[in-house]
């Protein structure tokens, strides 16, 4: 009996904490997405009302029909998914060779290179995005080099473009892809590659038939760690993107802080969550397998 109590003593504190501060808020966000904006404190109407001993429920699907009716929201979702997908692919193309290279190194060189990859992510994310503002500006370093080489007479607009958003995302998110990929690739048994080489396979062939298939789980985990948060990214499109760079995180921020329309902001969040549900569940499956007792 005491063993049983002890077990629940262990389980309950983190369970209750996460239930209250992670799960319940989603129910509230859903509830408020069904209410109407109002000039009040807080700025939305009540969903349940208890008047004259009668419970009335005001379900308002207006926010959802509003969202589907306005192409702005649809375009923002689509453009976020596109930007997230393209930047994930860019991270993979640059990150895979790096993760592979580090995984084949010997002890001390490996830990040094790994630390050099992680180190930037320990400094402020905001500062790293800010660094690119200085580089990509009209009178920033890249334009100064281009103009002093005589490649262009006028500065090329780099900041406040979608290109700048891609640079910022790849720059800040690439460690999240390299680390799980490295953890996977480092387990790859070199003897498979030696066997393939002995049997006459070239390096390219043995990469596509052995290394890549065996690292599938690392590729999926790393890609999801980039893709899912980037869909809702706010800081990078706000600081590096222009007014034409549409991303749903920026729209949600604007609805909440700009328009103070909490119900519409909640609806934007709920639909984003529904879009990301499958990727999140997929990520959960991979991550949970890593953490659970074996």
């Amino acid at each position: 009996m005491s063993r049983f109590n002890l077990k629940w003593l262990l389980i309950l504190p983190p369970y209750i904490w996460l239930l209250l501060f992670f799960a319940v808020p989603f129910l509230i966000i859903f509830k408020i997405s069904l209410s109407e904006a109002a000039i009040a404190q807080p700025p939305y109407t009540a969903l349940f009302e208890y008047v004259n001993e009668q419970l009335t429920i005001h379900l308002n699907l207006g926010n959802y029909t509003w969202l589907f009716g306005d192409p702005l929201y649809f375009n923002a979702y689509m453009s976020s998914l596109k930007i997230a997908a393209i930047s994930t692919v860019c991270c993979l193309l640059l990150g895979y060779p790096i993760a592979y290279g580090i995984s084949r190194m010997s002890g001390s060189a490996q830990s040094l290179c790994l630390m050099l990859i992680i180190l930037p992510s320990w400094t402020s994310f905001l500062i790293r995005v800010y660094a690119w503002m200085g580089i990509l500006r009209n009178n920033g370093i890249i334009n100064n080099i281009i103009m002093s080489l005589g490649l262009a007479d006028e500065p090329i607009r780099l900041l406040n473009t979608e290109f700048a958003v891609y640079i910022g995302i790849v720059y800040t998110y690439i460690p999240f892809l390299i680390l799980p990929l490295f953890a996977n690739l480092v387990k790859l048994d070199n003897r498979y590659l030696e066997a393939a080489a002995d049997l006459g396979a070239g390096p390219i062939k043995s990469f596509f038939t052995i290394t890549l298939p065996l690292s599938k789980n690392g590729v999926i985990a790393g890609s999801l760690l980039v893709f899912i948060p980037v869909v809702g990214e706010f800081v990078i499109p706000e600081l590096l993107g222009g007014s034409e760079t549409l991303m749903i995180g920026k729209v949600l921020w604007g609805e909440f802080f700009g328009n103070r329309d909490w119900p519409v902001a909640s609806t934007v969040a709920i639909i984003m969550l529904l879009i990301l549900l499958v990727p999140i569940l997929l990520f959960h499956r991979f991550q949970f397998k890593e953490m659970e007792d074996r």
Binding site: R3, K7, L10, I11, P14, Y15, W17, L18, L19, L20, F21, V24, I28, I29, P42, L94, P97, I98, Y100, G101, R104, S108, L112, I117, L119, P120, T123, S124, L126, I127, Y130, M133, I135, R137, G140, Y171, I174, P203, L224, L225, I228, P229, G232, F234, V235, E238, L239, G249, F256, W262, A265, M272, I280, H284, Q287, E290, M291, E292, D293, R294
Partner: protein
């Protein structure tokens, strides 16, 4: 491995490190620029560092953020370690699937969703039970503990699954209670993971802009909030000076920890050589 592949690897690594480090070097160089305009070089100067330390808004935000990061990281390590023990040692129990989902989902959840949902919870709680009366330090702390504990759980549970379980079993067989076994056997073995989990949580909390912006109140402004509102208006040499201090702090901490780990490894190698 043929040499052509490893050469290609070296090229990619060089490109990767160039891409990662050049922006920071540029940032640091321009923090020593005497000119008001960030892009024109006007001689070496410490002027912006002086301005930075005289800026009371920034300095008080630094203090708020450091206190917050310390409190969040400490609570996140406790909660995250409990969650890791639940995942790796508690066996099967009712609701484990839900628990697993709540541990992994915060790792990828877009910050705008987490921030908005927590704010709505706090507003709802304030309306129904009158707490929290005001949003500020305590609400940001709750938000940070919630998402930081997920990262701590990843770090600590990987150490818990790797470690040799027979040590725990031996202690239990010899009559130690589960609590005693945890304190005397498990805790010392996982302590490096607790330290790295704490440091990770500390930097995550220090760095968070989006979630804090949603759940903070008028009385508590964190450092990222100040930096963001200043950066939004354009470049500022003061922010370059602040960035340089942050980067150098991380660099020094990293060099020290790297040196400590390397020394430890060397000592262990020597010990194992002697014993053989």
């Amino acid at each position: 491995m043929t040499s052509s592949v490893s050469k290609l690897n070296k090229i990619f690594l060089a490109i990767g490190f160039f891409f990662l480090y050049v922006p920071m070097i540029v940032l640091i160089v321009y923090s020593f620029n005497g000119s008001e305009r960030v892009n024109v070089w006007a001689g070496f100067s410490f002027k912006w560092y002086g301005e930075l330390f005289r800026d009371e808004a920034i300095m008080s935000a630094v203090w708020v953020s450091v206190k917050l990061a310390f409190a969040s990281a400490s609570a996140a390590v406790v909660m995250g370690t409990l969650a890791s023990l639940v995942l790796t040692r508690a066996g099967k129990f009712k609701g484990k699937t839900v628990f697993g989902g709540m541990v992994t989902a915060p790792l990828v959840m877009p910050e705008v969703i987490t921030g908005l949902s927590l704010l709505l919870l706090f507003v709802g709680l304030a309306n129904s039970i009158g707490w929290p009366e005001q949003r500020g330090f305590i609400t940001i702390w709750i938000a940070h503990v919630t998402f930081c504990m997920a990262y701590v759980t990843v770090v600590v549970s990987s150490r818990l699954t790797e470690m040799d379980r027979s040590l725990e079993e031996a202690a239990m067989d010899l009559g130690a209670t589960p609590l005693k076994t945890f304190l005397l056997i498990t805790l010392p073995i996982i302590s490096p993971a607790l330290i790295s989990g704490w440091l990770l949580a500390f930097t995550l909390s220090l760095d968070d802009l989006v979630i804090a912006s949603f759940v903070s109140g008028p009385s508590s402004t964190t450092l990222p909030m100040i930096v963001f509102s200043s950066v939004r208006l354009g470049l500022s040499p003061k922010i370059n000076a602040l960035a340089t201090i942050m980067i150098l702090t991380v660099l020094i901490a990293a060099v020290i920890s790297y040196w400590l780990v390397a020394r430890n490894e060397k000592r262990q190698r020597k010990l194992s050589e002697i014993s053989h």
